[in-house]
């Protein structure tokens, strides 16, 4: 293609900004769309760090071991060559951030310091206090600002993606988005669209995610024909402060720095993770730690005061070192609970945390529809059935770099550009989106969208998280269908055409309900236990039948599931035992 093409990145978190930078470096024109100013994206919440096997501590760590542990930690469900590429790229990724001035914690001789995280015995995690995600985000945001000043990048902050514009060959030629203040709906032409729209925590109501993590964009394109993979794999993080508005993450770094999990048994502290898993102790992977805490609280009824709570204890550690290494999380606990964790053990419980599944992409971040790419938590590619701590920031950056590269190749091979596409396709999509807004604004039923959302979230949290039973998942899916029907009869308490948040929330909820069904149906189908997906009826992993990627497709009659072989060409699957 002649004129360089035009690119749209949706989402201004780590993956979106990384994609933008790589595109701009190649001289491409990029428009970036983000609901919030990029600097406020959910990536800022990542606390603990970013993995890279640089082995500065001489422990014998290597990208190969990082790769093996990531595959093992993910219970062999990830496509192996992809993960290998990511682990090999990791050291250079951390160096890149170092060059851009990220205030990583340092060793005495001025090198980047590394700490321990779950699922490994090596010091592999680079970190900036306990707000690593925030610090990496800022570095990327600053670099994007450079390109903005140079005119290659244009930001649309405060705009929400509504859909892609597909032509008659199901090729994406741009997007339709809405200005969240003026509610102006506009079509934007683009030769390639890269979706970096994050996870779906809001489907579960209270999670560790930001309230913008609805998965709405994924739901919207799913209904347009983009496939969604491994939806059933939702990570529940073992240690969060339960809250009414959200559950606040207490980083795995706390255990990486020596924090211990316990509860009282026969009047004495019982360090159950250390007893159950002597090799890894408190640093077993997240799915395993979460199940152990569930068992202690629900089965053995040994939670603190009989409640769904256990202790996470750092009161035995050096308070000065804690401030330097974990200041950010300690501050969160102090602010939101009002107690000093350096003196009093914290009270925590597992919480929905990360979306391993996501938009289906090939080995170069391309979706099944030409012109649409995905990266970051929005895609499904790098974490298999369970993500290891400190691999998420890494996968965002690696996926973003790859997506940019692939999108450029794709655009160069195009015969016709989006600027030549018949405007009727844009007009059609604009009309469809305006009608969707009008439908909700005019609806005069009895339901309140926020109450419907709470109902959906409760069903999903109760039945489709740590312990899953087919009967209850089935009932949940029926409930989701009922809620979808009731959504057609809501009444918005706000019908204004200016900064109408109720309208936008209702539109997001419509998409959340779709992805919620994808999650539930995937969980229902998968009759085995693997990583974060655990069914007491089928407690073992079953490679013969289920070493497969779940691929969900939108069909006229509803959602169809198919299954695809996992690429296990590099490491032979073996039993996962910590």
């Amino acid at each position: 293609m002649k004129s360089g093409g035009k690119y749209i990145v949706v989402g201004g978190g780590l993956a979106g900004l990384m994609t933008t930078i790589r595109l701009a470096e190649a001289g491409c024109r990029v428009e970036i769309f983000s609901i919030v100013p990029c600097r406020r994206s959910h990536s800022v919440c990542a606390q603990g760090g970013i993995n890279a096997s640089v082995n500065t501590k001489g422990e014998g760590d290597s990208p190969q071991i990082h790769f093996e542990e990531t595959i093992y930690g993910g219970d062999f469900l990830a496509n192996q060559p992809m993960v290998k590429g990511m682990c090999e790229a990791a050291p250079e990724i951390v160096y890149m951030f170092d060059r851009w001035g990220v205030a990583f914690n340092r060793t005495a001789d001025g090198q980047i310091d590394f700490r321990r995280f779950g699922g490994t015995k090596f010091h592999r995690t680079a970190y900036a206090g306990a707000t690593t995600g925030q610090q990496l985000m800022y570095a990327l945001d600053e670099q994007v600002r450079r390109f903005e000043a140079g005119g290659l990048v244009k930001r649309y902050e405060g705009w929400e993606f509504l859909s892609c514009v597909l032509d008659d060959t199901q090729t994406s030629r741009g997007i339709v988005a809405i200005d969240l203040v003026t509610l102006e709906i506009r079509a934007f032409r683009a030769d390639a669209v890269i979706l970096c729209t994050g996870g779906v925590g809001m489907i579960f109501g209270r999670s560790t995610n930001s309230t913008i993590c609805t998965g709405s964009a994924a739901g919207a394109v799913f209904k347009q024909g983009v496939w969604y993979a491994n939806g059933e794999f939702i990570q529940v993080h073992p240690t969060a402060i339960p809250g009414e508005d959200k559950n606040r993450l207490m980083s795995e770094a706390i255990r990486g720095e020596g924090g211990r999990v316990w509860t009282l048994k026969d009047g004495k502290p019982w360090y159950f993770l250390e007893e159950m898993y002597p090799k890894y102790g408190n640093l077993v992977p997240r799915d395993i730690a979460s199940r152990a805490i569930f068992k202690v609280c629900r089965e053995l009824k040994l939670g603190i005061d009989g409640k769904d709570l256990v202790y996470l204890d750092i009161s035995h550690l050096d308070p000065k070192a804690l401030d330097a290494k974990l200041g950010g999380v300690i501050e969160i606990y102090e602010k939101f609970v009002g107690e000093d964790p350096k003196k009093v053990p914290m009270r925590v419980f597992p919480s929905v945390h990360y979306t391993m599944g996501g938009i289906y992409v090939d080995d170069q971040q391309a979706t099944n529809l030409p012109g649409i790419f995905a990266a970051g938590e929005a895609d499904y590619q790098y974490h298999g059935a369970n993500r290891l701590g400190a691999n998420s920031l890494l996968s965002c950056i690696y996926g973003g770099e790859l997506a940019a590269k692939r999108a450029i190749q794709y655009v160069q091979s195009l015969q016709h550009t989006a600027s030549e596409t018949n405007s009727k396709f844009f007009d059609q999509e604009l009309r469809r989106q305006r009608e969707a807004n009008d439908r909700f604004l005019r609806s005069r039923g009895s339901g309140n969208p926020y109450l419907l959302w709470e109902e959906m979230a409760k069903w999903m949290t109760d039945h489709v998280t740590v312990v899953r039973e087919n009967k209850k998942i089935k009932a949940t899916d029926e409930k989701l269908l009922e809620l979808t029907e009731r959504l057609g009869r809501v009444s918005l308490d706000d019908i204004s055409n200016w900064a109408n948040q109720a309208l936008m929330f209702t539109r997001e909820l419509e998409n959340m309900l779709v992805i919620a069904r994808v999650i539930a149906l995937g969980a229902l189908a998968r009759n085995e236990s693997r990583g974060a997906h655990y069914k007491p009826e089928f407690p073992e992993r079953n490679d013969k039948e289920w070493l497969k990627t779940t691929v969900a497709k939108w069909a006229p009659k509803g959602i169809e599931l198919s299954f695809e072989k996992v690429d296990t060409s590099l490491i032979t699957p073996r039993e996962r035992k910590y």
Partner: protein, 246 residues
């Protein structure tokens, strides 16, 4: 403190150009409530204390753990983050108002684009042509100092509390000056030092600081903003002398 009802008074405004007005809400008290959970409660049944139907309150939020900077508003007269404003620690009634130094879009939502424009203006980034390998070695002390400065979440509280930021002045405000210090203390970032200091000269620059020191008192992240202003001002003076000598 024992209470059954939380009284919330919210300053509302339909659009940028319309007049503000107050509405009062009475909510059932629950332990561990914060301002966000109060506003969420109103979304589910938007009625004023006397049972009148109204629209849900419009506000900005995202992370709810005081790291994104979205939910800045004026709570009981003080600008801060709504997510960390715990009902138990607030006096009664609770008043919510939009920030005062940024244009109101609707209710508690304001337009804070100027913060990011200011960051762009002072070149708050590290410019490097290197494409591989680690950056320069940095002592743990410098890394720790820079980390404290780098926690700024561009929430705008410091600007809102600053008397020098107002309709009649172009003062760039403490956040951007802190960014200048952050990047000037990085070995490679320092290469743009002169550009950044020049951006702080003249009208609306660092000289407009009136030393009220409100910024450091309201910063939710405890960033030493006054020190940042003093240090940067000193650099500017030294830099100017240096230029004059040439």
């Amino acid at each position: 403190m024992e209470r059954d009802i939380v009284i919330l008074k919210v300053k509302r405004q339909q659009r940028s150009e319309t007049k503000p007005y107050w509405e009062e809400f009475h909510l059932k008290y629950r332990p561990y409530m914060n301002v966000i959970t109060c506003l969420q409660e109103i979304q589910k049944n938007p009625r004023t204390f006397d049972g009148r139907r109204t629209t849900p309150v419009t506000w900005e939020q995202s992370c709810l753990e005081e790291v994104c900077g979205s939910c800045s508003m004026v709570i009981n007269g003080r600008v801060r983050q709504a997510c960390s404003a715990l009902v138990d620690q607030l006096g009664a009634p609770i008043t919510l108002e939009p920030m005062t130094k940024f244009p109101v879009l609707r209710d508690l939502v304001v337009n804070r684009k100027s913060i990011f424009e200011n960051f762009k203006g002072v070149k708050a980034w590290v410019e490097t042509d290197e494409t591989s390998g680690p950056g320069p070695r940095i002592s743990p002390e410098l890394a720790e100092k820079r980390y404290q400065l780098s926690k700024c979440m561009s929430c705008g509280c410091c600007m809102d509390a600053c008397p020098q930021v107002n309709d009649r002045s172009d003062f760039i405000g403490p956040a951007a000056i802190n960014q200048v210090r952050l990047f000037n203390t990085h070995p490679i970032g320092a290469e743009l030092k002169k550009d950044r200091l020049l951006a702080l000269m003249g009208e609306g620059g660092i000289e407009d600081c009136g030393n009220a020191q409100n910024c450091v008192k309201v910063c939710p992240k405890g960033i030493p903003l006054v020190t940042s202003i003093i240090e940067t001002n000193r650099e500017l003076t030294v830099g100017l002398l240096h230029l004059l000598k040439k």
